[in-house]
C-alpha cells in the first residue's frame, strides 16, 4: 500500500512517454507500420469495450459484431449516400447503436448465462440476414455492400483511433476503480444477492452495455471507414466478436490493460501468421482459444498477479 503513489507516478510517466511516442508516429513511420498500429488500436477498443461489459458483469457478450456492424453501417451509409463528413458520421453511428442498445439491453439482459450469449449471436445473425434482404435494400444496398471513400488521410485516421483507444482505456480505468465498477462486479459475483442489497442491477447492466456499445461502435465506424467498404457478411462477421474476446482472454478478463496488451500481441501474431499460413491461420486461432481456456483461463495479467509479479489490485 505504501509505495502505491510511487508506483502510480512511475506508471503515469510510462504512459505519458508511450503516448508522446504514439502521437508522433505519423511524422516518421511508414504507412505499413501506421496501418498495423491502426489495427492494434481498433482491436484495443474492441477488446476493452467487450471487457468493460462482459469482464465486469460476467454476461458474455457474443454479439460484439452487432455493435460494430450496426454503427459501421450507419456511419458508412451516411458518408456514402448522404455525403456526411466522417467526423460527424462516426459519432452518429456510435450514438445510434448506443441508443438502440438501451432497448436491446432492456430486453435481452433479463436472459442469463449461456442463453444471453446465444441471444446475442441470434441478434447478430438475424441483423446480418435482414440487412441483406430485398426489404432493406433501398437503405442498406442489400448484399451488394457499400463501397465508399471518406476522403480522410491515414494520419488523421490514426490520430482519431489513437484518441479513442486512449479514452477507452481511461474509461475502463476509471470504471474499475469506481463504485459503479464495484456494482458491476457484484452482479458478476452474485446478481440476486446484489439486488437484495439495494443494487439496481438492471440499470447498472444496461449502462455498462450501452457504454460498451458506444465505444466499440465508434471504433467500428472508424474501422469501416478505414476499409472503405462494408457489407452484411463483412460487417457482422463472427470474427469481429471472436477476435476481441480472445484478445481480452489472453490479456486477462476484468483487468484494465489486459485487453490492450492482448490486442497488440494478437495483431502482430495475426500479421505474421497471415502472411505465412493464410488458411491455417484461423485454425491456429481456434487451437489457441482451446489452449487458453484449458491452461491459461486467468490471462496474462491475472497469471502475473497470481505469481506476485504484479500487485493484486484492480487498477492494472
Amino acid at each position: 500500500m505504501k509505495n502505491s503513489s510511487g508506483d502510480r507516478n512511475l506508471i503515469g510517466l510510462g504512459i505519458s512517454l508511450l503516448m508522446a511516442f504514439l502521437v508522433s508516429v505519423p511524422f516518421f513511420a511508414s504507412d505499413y507500420w501506421m496501418t498495423l498500429l491502426v489495427l492494434i488500436l481498433i482491436y484495443t477498443v474492441y477488446a476493452s469495450g467487450w471487457n468493460l461489459f462482459s469482464g465486469l458483469t460476467g454476461y458474455t457478450n457474443f454479439g460484439l459484431a452487432w455493435f460494430i456492424g450496426v454503427s459501421g453501417y450507419v456511419s458508412s451509409l451516411l458518408i456514402a449516400d448522404h455525403k456526411f463528413f466522417w467526423l460527424l458520421a462516426w459519432p452518429i453511428g456510435a450514438l445510434f447503436v448506443g441508443i438502440v442498445s438501451i432497448g436491446v439491453g432492456y430486453i435481452l439482459l433479463r436472459i442469463k448465462g449461456v442463453y444471453f450469449a446465444i441471444s446475442m449471436v441470434a441478434l447478430t445473425e438475424g441483423t446480418r440476414e435482414l440487412f441483406g434482404t430485398e426489404y432493406l435494400e433501398p437503405i442498406t444496398h442489400g448484399g451488394k455492400g457499400v463501397p465508399f471513400v471518406a476522403g480522410i488521410s491515414l494520419s488523421a485516421l490514426y490520430w482519431s483511433i489513437l484518441l479513442l483507444a486512449f479514452m477507452t482505456v481511461i474509461v475502463c480505468y476509471k470504471i474499475t476503480s469506481s463504485k459503479f465498477g464495484l456494482r458491476l462486479m457484484a452482479i458478476r459475483e452474485d446478481e440476486q444477492a446484489a439486488e437484495t442489497l439495494g443494487i439496481h442491477t438492471t440499470r447498472e447492466k444496461i449502462i455498462a452495455f450501452v457504454l460498451s456499445a458506444f465505444l466499440t461502435g465508434l471504433a467500428g465506424a472508424i474501422h469501416f471507414t478505414y476499409q472503405n467498404y462494408i457489407d452484411p457478411s463483412f460487417g457482422f462477421t463472427i470474427h469481429l466478436t471472436l477476435t476481441p474476446i480472445v484478445m481480452a482472454l489472453f490479456g486477462g478478463v476484468g483487468t484494465v490493460f489486459g485487453p490492450a496488451i492482448g490486442a497488440t500481441l494478437f495483431t502482430f501474431i495475426h500479421e505474421i501468421l497471415w502472411a505465412e499460413l493464410t488458411i491455417l491461420y484461423m485454425a491456429i486461432f481456434g487451437g489457441i482459444l482451446i489452449l487458453l481456456i484449458l491452461f491459461f483461463p486467468q490471462g496474462l495479467l491475472g497469471w502475473m498477479k497470481e505469481r506476485g509479479v504484479l500487485p493484486r489490485i484492480r487498477k492494472i
Binding site: R110, G113, V114, I118, E129, L130, T133, I293
Partner: protein, 283 residues
C-alpha cells in the same frame, strides 16, 4: 391444396434431419452441461465421411450412416475424456468459448485439407410420384433414415440400462452418483451419442445437399433454435422443435423468400427466450 400438403411434408422431411442434430445438442447440453458450439462441425464431418467413402471406394452412402455412428461415437467419447471433461466444474461460459475454438479449428482444417469446393454425393437422384404429389427420392430416404435413428435413440434411452443411467444423470447427477451410477462414464457416453447423432445427420444430409467446410454454421444455429424451442435437455421437445423449424423453413421459402427463411432460427431463438424461456414443451 396439394401443393400446400407437399410443402408441409417436405418441411417435415427437412425437420426430421434437423431434429437429429438438435437432439444431439440438447442431450449433451442437458446431461453433460456443455454447450457445444462445435456441434455443427460434426454434421459437416459426417457429410464429408459419406462423400469420401462414396467417391474413393464407392461405398454405399446409405451404409455410411451405419459407419458414421460408431466412428463419431468413439471420437466424441475421446474428445470428452481428453478435453471437455475438464470443464465440468468450470463456468458454463468456459465451455462455450472452448467449443467455439473447436468449431473454428475443425472447419478451418476441413477447408485446408479439402478446399472450399462444393461437393455432393450423386447417389439417389430423381423423384417419384405419390398420390399426385412428387417427392425427391433422396429426401424421402433421408426422412425414413432419420426417423429410424430417432426411434432407436428413444428406445435406447427408455429401455437400456445405459439409457436409464443417462436419464437419471440428466435429472439429478448427484443422486445418480450416490445411487452408484458412474456419472463420469455417463457423461462421456452421452457426449459420444450427441456427436454420433450429429455425424449421422451429416451423412444423411450428404444425400440431398451440397457439402462444404462452413456448412456446420447453419446447422448449429438451427440446433440452438430447436433446443430453445423444445426446452433444455428435452429430447421429445427437440424432435418436435426440429419438425417445427423444418416446416417453418419450408413454408417461408415457398411463400415468402429463401432469404427470409434464413432468419427463422435467430428469430425463433430471440422470441422463445423472451416469451417462454423454458421452451414450448413439458418434460
Amino acid at each position: 391444396m396439394t401443393n400446400f400438403i407437399e410443402i408441409l411434408i417436405r418441411g417435415l422431411m427437412l425437420g426430421s434431419v434437423y431434429a437429429l442434430v438438435g437432439m444431439g445438442l440438447t442431450l449433451v447440453w442437458g446431461v453433460v452441461g456443455i454447450v457445444n458450439i462445435a456441434h455443427g462441425e460434426f454434421v459437416m464431418l459426417g457429410a464429408y465421411l459419406a462423400f469420401w467413402a462414396f467417391s474413393l471406394i464407392h461405398f454405399n452412402p446409405l451404409l455410411s450412416v451405419a459407419l458414421a455412428i460408431p466412428i463419431f461415437f468413439f471420437a466424441g467419447m475421446t474428445i470428452h475424456k481428453r478435453i471437455t471433461e475438464r470443464l465440468t466444474k468450470a463456468p458454463e461460459l468456459s465451455a462455450l468459448i472452448l467449443t467455439f475454438g473447436m468449431s473454428i479449428l475443425i472447419w478451418n482444417l476441413a477447408q485446408f485439407f479439402w478446399t472450399n469446393t462444393y461437393r455432393s454425393v450423386p447417389y439417389l437422384t430423381g423423384s417419384f410420384p405419390f398420390f399426385g404429389l412428387v417427392f425427391a427420392k433422396s429426401k424421402t430416404v433421408s426422412f425414413f433414415l432419420a426417423l429410424g435413428i430417432t426411434a432407436a435413440l428413444f428406445a435406447f434411452l427408455k429401455y437400456s440400462r445405459l439409457g436409464k443411467g443417462i436419464r437419471a444423470t440428466s435429472q439429478n447427477s448427484e443422486v445418480a452418483l450416490v445411487c452408484g451410477i458412474n456419472t463420469m462414464r455417463m457423461r462421456a457416453v452421452t457426449f459420444g451419442m450427441g456427436i454420433a447423432l450429429a455425424g449421422a445427420a451429416g451423412t444423411i444430409v450428404s444425400l440431398q445437399w451440397v457439402i462444404f467446410p462452413q456448412m456446420g454454421a447453419s446447422y448449429v444455429s438451427k440446433a440452438f433454435a430447436i433446443v430453445v424451442l423444445g426446452g433444455l435437455g428435452n429430447i421429445q421437445g427437440a424432435l418436435a422443435g426440429g419438425l417445427i423449424i423444418g416446416v417453418l423453413e419450408s413454408l417461408t421459402t415457398q411463400y415468402w423468400s429463401a432469404k427470409m427463411a434464413q432468419i427463422i432460427p435467430s428469430m425463433t431463438i430471440l422470441l422463445i427466450l423472451l416469451l417462454k424461456p423454458t421452451g414450448l414443451f413439458k418434460k
